[in-house]
């Protein structure tokens, strides 16, 4: 723009000296703007973000992927497996015409209540699975007629919340509230047997792409993981780069040894050496020289024709086929393997091997290039070489497997029935179909509930695919939804995510660091897209077909190979024009916005990608240094006249995946736009994810602090969802008075953290106080605690299931006993809180050990007692019950918050009781600010002892200043400053990453209100009344209470339970266990020589036992009798650990006689 203006106003400038001309130039006005004015920013372009999130949502990746699966992929799978025929009756067939997934459906439909909608919340409460029927339309032969049946149910499909099949989609807040659902809940998870399960995003290497890698020994290999619906296989082209063996070979699982590459080429029909060398070197002398030994080797092996090559390969092919089949000639075997198994994704039609040959040639060339220049290997950690697998693709794998198994079973059953010579009724396949109901349903439920994806067909066995949705806090739930886990080797350490699509801060510490990642805010993950139209389009744009190419053309100067999803289409000589045209068509909306195209100049290739699992994000298009999005557009967006889709449709914004991003020149701000710029960032803070987005001023913090906060934000207690009080979760932490942070970020508003916050704005004084604040301990103000600071409620679920047993008996609830056996005993008030129905009453205070459900279990579970027999003629059978009450075991008393009585799918009564504790902060409770600065409460000080500012304000928390220098959390200081300014001015401040309220402005506000610009205050000691000699950094900081609380952890024991086998004290707090004096502690005592102490700790306080030993034979005996010596003469008594006695006896049982030789001591 600058350049243009210079030309336009050149006429106005009529000065002689150039300096003067320049001065004049600076003064020139155009539409009220000076030439030297900075490039105008597009106002509020961050408004695109909420617009994006409105259509895409926070977890749209999951939902899109699931929708794609349910609506498109499902039908595709059925179409490829549509026919079932019978081996017995050739006239029989069954064909699937269509498949669809119905709306969520209650399993017990005969239930009275089935008139109302089946909501997700009912599933949570009743431990049901949120699923809908899978209905198929079938056409089959019955007798001699063709019958069409519609809407046959073959199983149930778990439904993802907020997907197109879910009842919550497109509902208003009021409607959601009626269904007890939180409008802020992002959805994207499943409810399986009452638990919320997330299918995590799985990361893996790209399928169907060539990856070249080298190792330290000089071995270079190119490999492709081919993946089609039928087959998954891995093909290697290996070059061992050492003096003895510099040949290139092909390696594949179905071939028993490595095959020289030239033989493979010959087997595929390229018999002339010249042709081969041309395909690989393309006339390049260097590559020709490198490759020639291979040709020579082939000649030495005397393989010249295709037949010879095929015979050679055929002898190496592993035959997996059953012996029953007729053995085919080896050459045919080889041909079959080469066409369908090796590089399975490259199609071979009518034995036209041309595309596959060229594909192999390219792989060889890539290997040669890497041999010549070791920088040309691919980076396996590069995000562009990775694909993210989402719920949809994982479910489709699972469904395909289950559906095939279902069909196979069906076929077997049909065959079995058709084999019967005479049937009473006409054979109806529909009935058979109905009988196979559960295998698909159970397959889904089992896989999602356990997280084990076992697909025998692909030899796939993956564990830990699903996670329970963490409902510790709202942020924790969001965090699980955006989490990415890596599928391959856990040993690979990656130095953190490197693409802008992944959050740079949010990764766990320790083992999984860098392997588990999180998506950034604006990331989108693509789903598969049709290839055929793209292929046609590419040819229309002037590509030379791959089938008509020889090596000479392939490597012609300026020739660029064009790939579509890793498959070569052909070549073009004008790659830039081609790419430009292609992009223009995409911006017009002629092809999907998620198709990416980019040029790789190293390989002279243009890559078009339309496959699923690529991460991409939207950017503003810049043309001729002008961003296409203008303030006008944003204003329209604000007025709701435009949506994000319009921005895409009008070609103002487009999605770029990682590879295309690398081919673009992206400016972060308008002022950075130069001639080469192609795109403009929407907002820089979108590089962070939802969890890291909570941190104010993260760009001022030392980076690991942000990572720590990402882990801790998920443990903060706060509001969980609007339906939090309707939920009966195993463990629910709620804050009594949560507050939205004084210093928020744009991300906070976008994800709704201001509506479901987890923390409170505490007035913090950064000073040392009392010595109870060392090592990050915090000093709390007692008055603040009294007034509700850090107060939280902990709710725990207790479940009693009224079981039905196989013999017809069942559990029952008894009313509380009228009188207790021992009215003065310790358990006298055990039944006190029970209502007359035998369940504890709501609002009652529960003491440890009290009964909350007075359940009775039948004593006889094996004998067949016909309970349901008509009473009239039934023999009077007395069946007795025993007590099996549900008792409250926690050490602290609680209150009954809710009681839920319902039935499960199996018609068993389910009683859920929620017990609540209200917890006040105490010594040792953990708190944290939003900057990875955690600390425990070290002391609670009365208000009069607290220091106070001149206005009389006492801090809620005193934090030790030693927390700052080494942590370098400058963001926290700025948060305090901005928070203080916000409080004084009466408005919220922003601490958005790479932006936010400026320190200078904050200082100005402070000064305006009579405070020091530095945020420091004059503070008086509450104890002496004298002012502190130093000035104190004083103001509000958002503090989170973390779930680690002392009451859950403290434990001590004097006497208590012992393990049955060893008679040693039990282990662990939950079992009231002892505190172990471990080996290292024992070593200390041994070294010190405290033998009596050792004796006491290790034996007397543990498992001391009196044994009777026979001095003669040295074996253990009875009291006063040795069974071995048949004598009572030599028996003595001694003490030893019971575990030692046990050892001796176990040794004896193994025919080893441990003899004790006793001496006077």
């Amino acid at each position: 723009m600058l350049g243009k203006k210079t030309v336009t106003f050149a006429d106005d400038v009529r000065s002689d000296t150039s300096e003067e001309a320049f001065e004049n130039l600076k003064k020139t006005n155009y539409a009220g703007k000076k030439l030297t004015d900075p490039v105008k920013e597009v106002e509020d372009k961050w408004q695109l973000l909420p617009a994006f999130l409105k259509v895409k949502g926070l977890v749209k990746q999951h939902i899109d992927s699931y929708n794609y699966f349910v609506e498109t992929e499902l039908k595709k799978i059925v179409r490829t497996n549509e026919m079932i025929t019978s081996d017995v009756d050739p006239s029989f067939w069954l064909k699937y015409l269509d498949i669809r997934v119905g709306p969520p459906d209650r399993p017990d439909t005969d239930h009275e209540a089935h008139v109302n909608v089946f909501t997700p919340h009912e599933c949570r409460l009743r431990d049901l699975t949120y699923s809908g029927n899978i209905c198929v339309d079938i056409e089959y032969v019955r007798g001699k007629k063709r019958v069409v049946r519609k809407n046959t149910i073959i199983g149930k499909m778990p439904i993802m919340l907020r997907s197109s099949k879910c009842v919550l989609t497109d509902k208003s807040e009021a409607e959601l509230a009626k269904m007890f659902e939180c409008p802020l809940d992002p959805g994207g998870y499943f409810i399986i047997k009452g638990t919320e399960k997330v299918i995590l995003i799985q990361e893996q290497l790209s399928k169907n792409r060539i990856i070249v890698e080298g190792d330290k020994k000089g071995l270079v290999q190119a490999y492709v993981t081919s993946s089609t619906h039928e087959r998954k296989s891995k093909t290697y082209i290996v070059a061992k780069n050492d003096a003895k063996n510099d040949k290139i070979t092909l390696k594949h699982n179905s071939i028993s040894e490595e095959i020289p590459i030239v033989i493979v080429m010959k087997a595929m029909g390229i018999q002339s050496d010249k042709e081969i060398s041309q395909l690989i070197s393309g006339g390049n002398q260097i590559f020709l020289n490198m490759f020639s030994p291979n040709i020579e080797q082939c000649a030495k092996m005397k393989i010249f024709t295709q037949k010879q090559a095929l015979d050679y390969i055929g002898s190496k092919v592993k035959v997996t086929r059953k012996i029953a089949n007729v053995r085919r000639p080896m050459a045919e075997e080889a041909l079959e393997v080469l066409s369908t198994v090796v590089l399975a994704h490259v199609p071979v039609k009518d034995l036209n091997f041309q595309p596959k040959c060229i594909y192999i040639a390219i792989m060889i060339r890539r290997v040669l290039m890497a041999l010549a220049n070791e920088n040309l290997v691919d980076d396996r950690d590069y995000v562009g070489n990775k694909r993210l697998e989402l719920a949809g693709s994982l479910l489709s794998l699972l469904f395909e497997d289950l559906f095939k198994k279902f069909n196979f079973d069906l076929k077997m059953n049909i065959d079995k029935l058709l084999k019967k010579p005479n049937r009473a009724t006409e054979f109806d396949a529909h009935k058979q179909l109905m009988q196979h109901g559960d295998s698909i349903t159970n397959g889904f439920v089992r896989a999602i509930a356990t997280g084990n994806w076992t697909l025998k067909r692909f030899k796939m066995e993956r564990a830990g695919i699903t996670h329970v949705l963490s409902r510790l806090s709202y942020i924790a739930a969001l965090g699980t939804m955006t989490r990415i886990t890596s599928q391959y080797e856990k040993t690979r350490k990656v130095s953190g995510p490197r693409a802008l699509q992944l959050c740079p801060a949010d990764t766990p510490e320790g083992e999984a660091c860098g392997l588990v990642k999180n998506l950034a805010l604006m990331t989108h993950i693509t789903t598969d897209d049709e290839e055929q139209p793209l292929r046609r389009l590419a040819f229309n744009l002037g590509i030379e077909d791959v089938n008509s190419l020889t090596g000479a053309e392939l490597y012609r100067k300026n020739a660029y190979m064009v790939f579509l999803n890793g498959l070569m289409l052909g070549i073009t000589c004008q790659p830039n024009n081609f790419v430009h045209d292609f992009r223009r068509l995409r911006r017009c909306g002629r092809i999907s916005e998620f198709v990416s195209i980019y040029v790789n100049h190293h390989h002279n290739a243009v890559h078009i990608a339309s496959d699923g699992g690529r991460v991409c994000r939207p950017l503003i298009i810049v043309e001729n240094r002008i961003p296409k999005v203008t303030t006008k557009h944003i204003q329209k967006l604000k007025k709701d006249e435009m949506t994000f889709a319009d921005f895409l449709a009008q070609g103002l914004v487009e999605y770029l995946d990682v590879n295309e991003e690398n081919d673009s020149n992206i400016a972060i701000y308008e002022r950075e736009i130069v001639n080469e710029t192609t795109h403009l960032e929407i907002e820089p803070f979108t590089i962070l994810g939802a969890v890291a987005g909570l941190i104010p001023y993260p760009h001022h913090n030392q980076s690991p602090r942000n990572t720590y906060q990402c882990a801790m934000g998920k443990q903060a207690i706060g509001a969980i969802a609007y339906n939090q009080l309707r939920r009966i979760d195993t463990l629910l932490y709620l804050m009594v008075y949560p507050q939205q942070p004084m210093v928020k970020t744009k991300t906070i508003e976008l994800v709704g953290y201001d509506k479901l916050p987890a923390g409170q704005n505490a007035i913090v004084a950064v000073m040392s106080y009392s010595g109870y604040d060392i090592e990050d301990a915090l000093v709390l103000n007692k008055a603040s605690v009294d007034r509700g600071f850090g107060r939280c409620q902990v709710m725990r679920k207790h479940v009693a299931l009224m079981k039905r047993y196989a013999n017809g008996t069942y559990d029952r609830i008894g009313d509380p006993p009228a009188q207790v056996d021992c009215p003065t005993g310790p358990s006298a008030d055990r039944f006190n809180i029970l209502d007359s129905d035998g369940i504890a009453g709501v609002g009652e205070r529960v003491m440890p050990g009290q009964v909350i459900v007075n359940r009775h279990t039948p004593t006889n579970l094996s004998a067949n007692i016909p309970v349901n027999m008509p009473i009239v003629n039934a023999p009077v059978i007395q069946f007795t019950w025993k007590h099996s009450p549900l008792t409250y075991k926690a050490p602290e008393p609680g209150y009954i918050d809710k009681v839920c009585v319902t039935t499960t799918e199996q018609e068993q009564t389910l009683i859920k009781i929620l017990i609540r504790q209200t917890r006040i902060p105490e010594l040792g409770d953990k708190f944290s600010s939003r900057h990875g600065q955690k600390g425990v409460c070290g002391i609670i000080v009365p208000q009069e002892d607290m220091p106070f500012a001149d206005s009389g304000i006492c801090p809620d928390i005193i934090m030790n200043p030693h927390g700052f220098p080494s942590r370098m959390t400058v963001g926290k200081m700025i948060e305090l400053l901005a928070g203080k300014a916000g409080v004084l001015k009466g408005e919220l401040q922003y601490g958005t990453a790479f932006g936010g309220s400026k320190v200078e402005d904050m200082s100005k506000i402070l000064i305006k209100h009579g405070y020091s610009y530095s945020g420091k205050d004059y503070v008086t000691s509450g104890i002496t009344g004298e002012p502190l000699s130093a000035y104190i950094f004083f103001g509000p900081v958002y503090y989170q209470k973390l779930k680690h609380m002392v009451v859950d952890k403290m434990h001590a024991r004097a006497r208590g339970p012992r393990a049955v086998l060893t008679r040693q004290p039990t282990e662990g707090r939950s079992r009231d266990g002892g505190l172990r004096l471990g080996e290292m502690e024992r070593d200390c005592l041994v070294g010190y020589g405290a033998s009596m102490l050792l004796m006491e700790r290790l034996m007397i306080s543990s498992d001391q036992f009196d044994v009777h030993v026979c001095e003669q034979c040295g074996l253990l005996g009875y009291k006063g009798w040795c069974q071995n010596c048949k004598s009572s003469k030599f028996m003595v008594t001694m003490q030893m650990p019971y575990a030692a006695k046990l050892l001796f006896q176990e040794l004896q049982s193994m025919n080893i006689a441990p003899r004790l030789i006793l001496e006077e001591f």
Binding site: L725, V736, K782, A783, S784, D786, R787, G788, R791, Q793, G843, Y895, D897, R916, T918, P942, Q943, E944, F948, D950, S951, G952, I953, C954, I1007, G1010, Y1011, S1012, Y1013, S1014, K1016, Y1018, T1020, G1022, T1024, G1025, E1026, P1027, L1028, S1029, A1030, Y1031
Partner: protein, 279 residues
């Protein structure tokens, strides 16, 4: 300084007095006395606050403890708190009229579309002297909970006399500002500055009432503070001047008990001989 000479009697000059705040200058006394006064005002002036809540019915969304906590923090008019006994001084076993006030709260929402606010105005006190405070007739009261149609709260509250040492709900004051020497003539503090102290540090409002230092004033290292600026903001349960007066009373009580202790060395304490005499 001789505290007991008639010339050096402590003096109070009230600067400002409104319904909820008082500003005064205390002179002619020691820092320790002034600070003691401040501490007592915060933590030891007795007020009345709800201490026990008996829930007969609570179908609101809030938990019982939650509501009880909120009820406890509602300021009750405590002007006549001295007319009532501390529970520990009362002879009754639980709560009686001598040592407690009963308040009742019974609200049910019958409105169709809106929620009903339960406020401190719904609290019915059995003793007209101790009621939840209001700021005039327009005051909506302090929000306790919101009820939806059909929800109901019925509780019996027992308010007792207490001090903020035990729980902050008994504190009569919100903030107590306390300062002396606004010009830092005594150099008890060190201003943190980058360049210029006067430019960078705003003056406190008490500076208007103090004597600004002369430019060539010599630092008197023997000087003791004796002008103390107080500002007390109440939470409404007591008049600000009452808080100060009650605090003085309490302070006097404390001082006299110390004096008694000092002068009665030979008198047995709690029926025991002083330990000093053992040897």
């Amino acid at each position: 300084m001789d505290l007991f000479s008639p010339a050096n009697k402590p003096e109070i000059r009230i600067q400002e007095l409104t319904g909820e705040r008082i500003r005064f200058i205390l002179t002619n006394t020691d820092l320790s006395m002034a600070n003691a006064l401040r501490r007592i005002m915060i933590s030891e002036v007795a007020t009345i606050a709800i201490d026990m809540v008996q829930f007969d019915l609570n179908t609101s969304v809030l938990a019982d403890e939650f509501i009880a906590h909120r009820l406890g923090l509602i300021p009750l008019d405590s002007t006549e708190a001295d007319k009532i006994k501390y529970p520990r001084d009362c002879n009754c076993s639980g709560a009686c009229k001598e040592c407690s006030v009963e308040l009742n709260l019974h609200v049910k929402c019958t409105e169709e579309d809106t929620t009903k606010d339960v406020t401190s105005k719904d609290l019915v006190s059995h003793d007209p002297r101790f009621t939840p405070i209001t700021e005039g007739p327009k005051d909506a009261g302090i929000l306790i909970a919101k009820l939806r149609k059909g929800q109901e709260i019925k509780v019996k509250c027992i308010a007792k006399k207490g001090v903020a040492k035990e729980h902050a709900k008994w504190s009569p004051c919100a903030a107590v500002a306390f300062e002396y020497d606004p010009f830092n003539k005594l150099r008890h503090t060190h201003y943190w500055i980058e360049e210029d102290e006067k430019k960078e540090w705003p003056q406190s409002k008490n500076a208007n009432d103090d004597f600004p230092p002369l430019d060539d004033e010599i630092f008197d290292f023997t000087a003791k503070p004796n002008r103390f600026y107080f500002e007390i903001e109440t939470i409404g349960s007591m008049k600000p001047e009452d808080i100060v007066m009650n605090a003085f009373k309490k302070l006097l009580e404390k001082i006299s008990s110390i004096q008694m202790g000092l002068h009665s060395n030979d008198v047995p304490i709690n029926g025991r001989e002083p330990t000093r005499d053992v040897f």
